[in-house]
Structure formats: C-alpha cells, structure tokens
Amino acid sequence: MARPGFVLEVDDRTPPLVVHDGPRVRLERFPLGAEVIYPAESLPALDDLVAGIDNALAGPVDAEPLATKLKPGMKLTIAFDDVSATAPLQSPDARGRIIERVLIQAAGAGIDDVALICANGMNRRNTEAELRRLLGERVFRSFYADGRLTNHDAEAAGKDSGDLNPRVAESDLLVMVQLVHGIGADVRSSGLPGVAEGLGSVSAIRSGVTPAGLDGLDVFSIEAVLDNNHYPSAVEFLGRREWEWSLPSQAKLFGVRQASRLAPARSAQLLSAGLGSGYHVTQVTAGAPEAVAAASRTRVVEQQRVDVSGQADVLVLGVPAVTAHSVGSVTNPVLAAWQALGVGYNAVTDAALVRDGGTVIAYHPLSQDFSSLHHPSTIDFFADVLPTSTDPEVLAADFEATYAEDPWYSQLYRTSQAFHGLHPFQLWYQLSAAVRRLGDVVFVGADRASAARLGFRAASTLADALEITAASVGRTPKIRYLHTPPNALGAVT
C-alpha cells in the first residue's frame, strides 16, 4: 500500500534530515516546529509495460486506434522528448519501448518513410550515446546511419514550415512520445504546448505563440507517467524517511557523503545519471494531445500531491546536484537559482507554499563552475549581463536581442552540444517571477560573490539565514522544508 505524502512537524525526536546542497548531502537539524513536506511513496507500476503500451495504442482517448491511422506510403514522424527536462535515463528506457511498439505497427502497415526526431526545442542536442541509451540499440541502429534520426534544430524552423520543424510540417502523422514525471518548469509540457516547445522555431518558443503549422497537423500523443522512485536501487534509501533507514543504509549514506566531499562533481554525476534511475511506469495513455495531457496530469497529481495547510513565512529548498538542464554537465549558479526559484518554488498545484513577501532559503554552493560545452551563453550572461542589471525588463530590452542573433551561439547550438543563446534569459525570466513575489532569497553555504551577482544573499548556516531574514519575517517564522527529490506537489488548503 503506497503511503501518501505527509507533513512532519519537527520535534526533539526528529533526527537530522537530508538536505541536498548541490553535490553535497547535508544532514540538517531543523528548528522545533518547522514543517517538513515528505513526498508520497510510489504508486503501483504496470506489471507488463509492453502490454500496457499495446492496450493504450489500441484503445486511445479521443482518437482512433493507431493501427487505423497508419496507412501505407504515408509520412510518419515520431518525436520524443530529450535527455534534458526528463527523468534520468534507464536501460531500457520506456520511450524506446513505446517507439518500438509504434514501429512494429508501422512496419505491419507498410510504411517506409519514417523519421525520428528528438524534440529538444532550445535545449541542447543529444549525443549519440544518449540517443542509443534512450531508444535502445534496435531503433537507434535502424535509423541513425541513414540520417532518419535527428535532433530538432529550432533555428532551421521558420515561417515557411509554419514555425515547426520542416519534417514535422510535411508529415501526415506526428506521434509524440513523452515521459511525464512532474508538472513543473523542469519538465517538457504535455499536449500541443509540448509539441510547440519541443519542435517549434525560436520565435515561436520565445513568444509562446502556437505555431501555425500545428493547425492542420495530425498529432497522436503517447505519454508514460512515472512513479516516485527517483533514486537508483543502490541509494534508494535517500527517498525514504530518515527514521526508517536501516544500518546498512546509514553506512551507505556515510559513503555517499565522503565521496561527495572528495569528488563532488563526479559523485554527483554518478548518483544522478551514471547509476540510472529506479523509475517505473505507472500509466501509459495514448490519443488526442489534450486528453492525454489531462490524463497524465491527473495521474501525476495523484502521485505527488501532498496537502499542506496555509502558506509559510520561510520556505527551505535543497537544490539537487543535477538539475534538468545540467544532465551530463555541471550546475552553474544561474541553473541552481532557477532550480530553487523556478522549479522548487513552483512545486505546487495552486497557491505557493510560501506567502508573498516571505523568504526562500536554498542550499547550493553556487560555485562559479560553468560548462563551456553545454552552457556557453550562460558564461557570458553571468559575466557581462548580470553585473549590469538583474531586472528582467532591462535584460529583455537591452541584451536579449544580441544573444538571440549571435552567430557563435547559434553555431554551437546547431552543431555542438550547447543550449541556445537565449537559454539563460528563459531561466532568468522564470525565476524572476518568483523573486518578484518574495521578500528575501538566501543561499546557505554559497559563494558570496556569486550570490551577490545573482542579487541574493549568502549565509553560512541555516541559523544565520534565519537571522538575516528576521527583519522581514520575524524571529519566529513558520518554516517549511520541501523534502525533494522525489517530487512532491504542495496543495495549499
């Protein structure tokens, strides 16, 4: 029986709790009376994934079965979401399984013109190894050498292809395969907005306007909803409540903390991506994009919803080592701030977990480590743009156009593994929406210069952070700690 998420009130028997501090794993003692939101345990997974997929394809919602849509000689395009903005890869990945089942039906229907596109939108291109792990060896080897398996290039999409990927615009049927493990800003949206985000042109994604090419396009969505087993089985104790850890788990935690002290970046990568993840699929839905999106959202909320009463004065957030946009890379300060304020702050179904004018205390070292391969424009954004101003209106007016048109960023995005030049601006707008509503943002254990550059404060310990914010929230604020990952969605009642 999967236990639902719950809210723990810290008393003197509560042990120190795990807080993710970037690559470090802290054990923090919270003040008495603080609330801790624990995520729910996983819902039961599908016994037979392949049968689940086949049933979904045969009985879709709001659409005809896939077999009737597949006609010989048609142009079929299968798009799938990328390595960023999704759960860590597993071998075999659920998307690969779904695509295999679709291809088996397509082969039976006599379709030869099939293309596979990774809908990465303005995220970075996926490497060969990532695509191979994602799709499985069979699908990868069948399509990659012929050039039928490609990453999406947002700069190649333009007005003449309806602001969509050219191959998608000329297809008879687009099958969109997605893995859903949340509803926040770190996950590719479901339904038609997800198609626009993943396969649209730069102008369409930037402005949020629906691409014209989507009007006449036949889209068949397939979404697999994941459970809450975020951690691989080797460290699955990190997803359980601290007072339920066995002795071996405590020993493993000691090992993990030592490893993260000795080699923070490497151990972070290993824990999050190298060991894979323990996710299982709990539901597969297929059919019309809106109906599938609604069904997936219902399931995700069912999995992750935790009822909390009222809004807090102080919200404490741990930032995990690997964020959505730093898969296979390092987490720079801008990404860490986005993870706390764009994603953690918005891990809610309705109202925010902290009141307007309240404080967010986040944990991350904010060390000035940038990946020049993956985030070249963020390096310049942090060095040149942020010292001038942190106001999103000023950034949009003065700097965004330069970054959008820069030929070097464009070259790196189109041919290398870089995020688009506008990527840091998108992150900044999302986190600014939260900063505008908050009073103070304090990073514990962070580099002071980085925090100041971002426009936030830095403190050495939680007690110091609470001291700093005492001016705005008082000496005895209501403190709430969101104990993620695994994901939890606060429903404020």
């Binding site: 392949v50 075999p92 291809l103 088996i104 099939v114 069979r138 080897r141 399509f143």
Partner: protein, 238 residues
C-alpha cells in the same frame, strides 16, 4: 539430497563460469541484442537456433540472462544428452539445432521438424535465436586458434533473440517449423541489416550471395559487421 538434475546444473554452471565464459569473452566480441523477450519468460522454453559452428552452444549460453542460463539443459541431437521431454517436465530449457548438423557454408540450411514436434507435444513455447559470426570464428573442421585476449580485432559474434512463438491449436509440425525457420532467419537478418528492415521485409531484407558460389563462403567467413552502420573511412590502416 538434491536431485541429479540439480547437481548436474550446479556442476555445469561452475565449469562454464570458470572456463568457457571467460574464454569466450576474451576471444570473441559477443554482441547480444534485446533480451526482454527472454527475461519475461516464466516456464521452460525450447531454444532454437541456426548451427554453423561448435561454438554455438557456448555462445548461446553466454548470451542468455543468468536466470535462464542456469535452467538451460543440454543440446538435443544425435541421441546424446538427456531425454528432452524429461528436461522440459523438470522445468529446464532445451536447446535444439533443427538443421541437424553443422552448416557447410555458414548459411542456415533446411530445418527439421523435431523442435516443432516437441513443442506441440509438450505445449511449450519456442524461442528463435539467430547467431551470426560463429562460422567465421571457427568453421567445421577447424580448431580454435587462440589470439591475444581482449584484442581489438577479435571476431565478432552477434546473437539476436526473436519473439517467442507458440504453436497454434491444431497446427502441424511442418507449418510450425516454417514459422520457426522464418523467425530464425529474420533474427539473423536483424543483425545483417537493421531491426527496422527485418520488420518491414522479413529475412528477404538480407540478400545473400547464391549458394555454392565462392562469394558466399567469402561473405560468411568474414567477421560480420552489423547493418545500419556507415562505412567510416579509416585513415590509419592496421
């Protein structure tokens, strides 16, 4: 007191783990395809494969997942080994090479109906497997010539599992055999071309040189490259 079968299993496991499998790993480049069809199997199954070399059985056992490897009994053929019916009843998998004898030119010959007959009688499914490259590694009449362990140019052997086949009710052994034959050839074609090509065109996707021609032996005696890979031009010739 363990049953004799369990003792035989344990001894065979120990011998294989100590000698055969490390040797195969060091001397061959074993490329195993998608194993989910095998991993999901619950009961005993008849494993059917093409037979091009004496390496086939060892390669097949190395390719199976651990749980199934322990349960795979001896090969059936030429009256050797235990009675396959007894093995199946005891929950063991049985390996059968329906060609009956080793292939003379590397390509799978005609399939006998023994495996299909057994599957129909015992109500047991059949797992088709396509093995490619063992003829090039060690054809009939040759003994193994040891190369350096884990060399970069050791022969490649590919093992591809097809989907499990069940006999239809009232199906004859002949028609079931032709289905199994098709499945094994398609599994071989999955490596020779790509999975998608083998789905679309079956084993016709893989065009072989005509039988009896020198080109056939030439083609089969080279270490097989997987389909779907572009020819990369080599700058340095080794």
């Amino acid at each position: 007191m363990k049953s004799p079968l369990r003792i035989i299993d344990a001894v065979r496991q120990a011998v294989q783990t100590a000698t055969v499998r490390p040797l195969l790993a060091a001397q061959l480049q074993l490329d195993v395809g998608d194993r989910t069809a095998v991993e999901e199997l619950a009961g005993p199954v008849i494993i059917v494969s093409n037979h091009a070399s004496r390496l086939d059985l060892g390669v097949l056992q190395a390719a199976l997942p651990a749980r199934h490897r322990r349960r795979t009994g001896a090969t059936v053929g030429s009256g050797r080994g235990l009675d396959p019916r007894l093995l199946l009843k005891a929950g063991r998998n049985v390996v059968i090479f329906p060609e009956g004898c080793l292939s003379t030119d590397g390509v799978a010959g005609g399939f006998g109906t023994d495996a299909a007959q057994l599957a129909i009688e015992q109500h047991v499914p059949v797992l088709p497997v396509g093995i490619r490259g063992t003829f090039a590694a060690m054809p009939q009449g040759r003994t193994w010539s040891f190369g350096l362990p884990f060399a970069h140019n050791r022969p490649r052997v590919s093992v591809r599992f097809g989907s499990v086949l069940d006999a239809e009710p009232d199906e004859t052994a002949t028609s079931f055999t032709s289905r199994i034959d098709d499945a094994v050839r398609t599994a071989i074609a999955e490596d020779r071309t790509t999975w998608w090509q083998s789905l679309r065109h079956g084993h016709d996707a893989a065009t072989l040189p005509p039988a009896g021609s020198w080109r056939r032996i030439w083609d089969q005696s080279q270490s097989p490259r997987p389909g779907g890979r572009p020819r990369r031009p080599r700058i340095w010739r080794r």
